[in-house]
Symmetry: C2
Subunit: 200 residues, 2 copies
């Protein structure tokens, strides 16, 4: 309970990082991903904004990942998926997605945010901004598709993967739930590839 | 409150149907779709099984639809989608699905069961059985695909649609959320068609 009873901005301490994360969780829930600023989180946490930058050098994305206890940030893992360009991108996306969701510990935090998004609009707004800005826009930027189609194509590709997660890991409908990963990849990777590279 | 205090099996009355529906809801939640019998529902509702048949001539599917307040049963609407055979089936599925989910009143009961399925395993088991038996198996039976691939193909097609529903109507990610229905159909119908008729 260090810091309790202390007024004014506190210096960094053992639980300062945790308090910033708690403040971030509250701010994301209230304002959505797009509406949150690091300065606003610092204010709620009652710390100097420089401390927020100190603990979360990668900014809002890293704060959201910490607040939602996600196992990694898109900034950490997407570059590998996107490296190598659009050739084979559908298969790399499918394999990466299935490897994350195939791990019960890995999928739980994602399920939690999805569950919240289905339950209230604030949580939906929060997840919407995060997914759009940290995942979909990065994939869209990698595509060689006219700008007016790019985002829609990335979104229907993402929809394919999210739907597979719902049926395979949440509803656990057979045979999809027990199908081996290669068979699922063989079915959905060409679909993703077609959405992402319509001319190839 | 007619019937309260009356012991033994009650005859059909103004609220008998409602009591059967309440009993059905409880039984589906406890036993999953597959584990429920009309006889078991009659026992919980404390009515003669013949009365359950009287009110729900189409059996378990109709009881589930009433219990979950779904706007229609697959038995009522799927025949139209499947009529005409596999030719154009992807487009008819996409249009039907989007028309149901595009209506806020229409999608609410489906969202409710999906939300429950994300929250607890009993609700997931209930929805799993219903979807598998009343939707997926009917679509699978209409396909000209080797039996060992049929269900998996229907499931990844269903996954595409459910994922679109999540991103378009729940997360409301743009541009997908505001895209007109024809543009969404133009993107996903060929995917569905490819899953359902791989050789065409």
């Amino acid at each position: 309970m260090a810091g309790v009873g202390t007024r004014g901005r506190r210096p960094g301490g053992v639980d300062t990082r945790a308090e910033i994360v708690t403040a971030a969780r509250q701010e994301f829930a209230e304002k959505g991903y797009d509406g949150v600023t690091l300065r606003g989180i610092a204010r709620v946490a009652d710390v100097d904004p420089a401390l927020v930058h100190h603990y979360f050098a990668n900014g809002k994305e890293e704060l959201f990942v910490a607040a939602m206890q996600l196992p990694f940030s898109p900034a950490e893992r997407l570059p590998d998926v996107l490296a190598g360009g659009v050739d084979g991108l559908g298969e790399r996306m499918a394999r990466f997605f299935l490897s994350v969701w195939g791990d019960p510990q890995g999928r739980e935090p994602f399920l939690a945010v999805l569950r919240a998004a289905l339950t209230n609009e604030q949580a939906a707004a929060m997840l919407r901004g995060f997914v759009a800005q940290t995942i979909l826009s990065r994939v869209a930027a990698a595509l060689d598709v006219p700008p007016e189609e790019r985002e829609l194509r990335v979104e229907v590709a993402a929809a394919q993967l999210i739907g597979v997660a719902m049926l395979r890991y949440v509803l656990r409908i057979e045979p999809l739930a027990s199908a081996n990963e290669d068979d699922v990849v063989a079915l959905v990777a060409p679909t993703l590839q077609h959405y992402l590279t319509p001319d190839l």
